[in-house]
């Protein structure tokens, strides 16, 4: 029961703060709304039973990514207020296409989920919570992807330094 209440609270908070991200005129307020959204999403991960993902969500997004955003906003010392809505014909057409696409995706999910048997007994498949099991999986079966990700991080770091260099 408490799980249900928590889910609805967190979902409401998540969607409201996500809306806040795209309607706020000040970029700092947008980033703060995104922070609330990330924390609510971490709560949803906890409800789903994947505690490690929730932990990483907080560490990576709130701890690193959003701080980086705030740092750049502070560095640029932005004065201009952002304009919210510009209705161009391109925007309207693209919006209609996007709505169609999203409803198509939702329908596909529904179609797929009715044909693939759902795991009804959720207790039988409690997701892997043990960080040791996850690490074994990550460094065993997915080792190549892990190494490629480290190369990607190196490329991103070097690229960021190169781009900002005058």
């Amino acid at each position: 029961m408490i799980e249900h209440i928590l889910f609805w609270l967190l979902a409401f908070l998540l969607i409201m703060s996500a809306l806040g991200v795209i309607v706020m005129t000040s970029t700092v307020n947008s980033v703060m709304c995104l922070l609330v959204a990330m924390l609510a999403l971490a709560g949803l991960y906890v409800i789903l039973g994947t505690h490690v993902v929730a932990l990483f969500q907080i560490i990576i997004y709130v701890g690193a990514v959003l701080v980086l955003f705030l740092f750049v906003i502070m560095l640029l010392n932005l004065k201009e207020r952002a304009q919210i809505l510009t209705l161009r014909p391109f925007t309207c057409g693209a919006g209609i296409c996007i709505l169609g696409l999203v409803s198509l995706i939702a329908w596909l999910f529904r179609y797929a989920a009715t044909n693939i048997p759902l795991i009804q007994d959720t207790l039988a498949v409690t997701p892997v919570q043990n960080i040791q099991e996850l690490a074994l999986e990550l460094f065993g079966k997915h080792l190549l992807v892990f190494e490629l990700t480290s190369v990607l991080l190196l490329v991103a770091a070097v690229g960021a330094v190169l781009i900002t260099k005058k």
């Binding site: 799980e3 249900h4 979902a11 998540l14 969607i15 996500a18 991200v21 795209i22 970029t27 947008s30 980033v31 995104l34 959204a37 990330m38 999403l41 949803l44 409800i47 789903l48 994947t50 993902v53 990483f56 969500q57 990576i60 690193a64 990514v65 980086l68 955003f69 750049v72 906003i73 640029l76 932005l78 201009e80 952002a82 304009q83 809505l85 510009t86 925007t91 693209a94 919006g95 996007i98 709505l99 999203v102 995706i105 939702a106 999910f109 529904r110 989920a113 759902l118 795991i119 997701p127 892997v128 099991e133 996850l134 990550l138 990607l152 991080l153 991103a156 690229g159 960021a160 781009i163």
Partner: protein, 100 residues
């Protein structure tokens, strides 16, 4: 609480990010909208791995997507800094060298 509750939250989050990407002009907010969409995809990955697959592969994918998102933000913010140095604005409508 079924799979559809979480899935609908993910789809709504993705659409909010997409709409934000289309209607906003500020480059930083565009990057924030991309972050929203990536998070929606992460949520849907975790939900599917919880309700359909049951293993740990979904969580591993989520870790990798988070890493890629962090790398993307680093490069994107570097581009934003150099854009601001060059044009003195972050309005995507005013950065129009390609329009001639």
């Amino acid at each position: 609480m079924g799979m559809y509750h979480f899935l609908s939250v993910g789809i709504i989050l993705f659409s909010i990010g997409l709409v934000g990407f289309l209607i906003r002009n500020n480059v930083i907010v565009l990057l924030l909208s991309v972050e929203l969409m990536l998070n929606a995809v992460n949520l849907i990955f975790v939900v599917f791995s919880r309700y359909l697959h049951g293993g740990s592969a979904g969580q591993i994918y989520v870790f990798i997507i988070m890493t890629i998102a962090a790398a993307e933000v680093a490069v994107g913010l570097a581009i934003i800094v150099s854009l601001y140095r060059r044009f003195k604005t972050l309005d995507a409508q005013k950065i129009n060298l390609l329009k001639g």
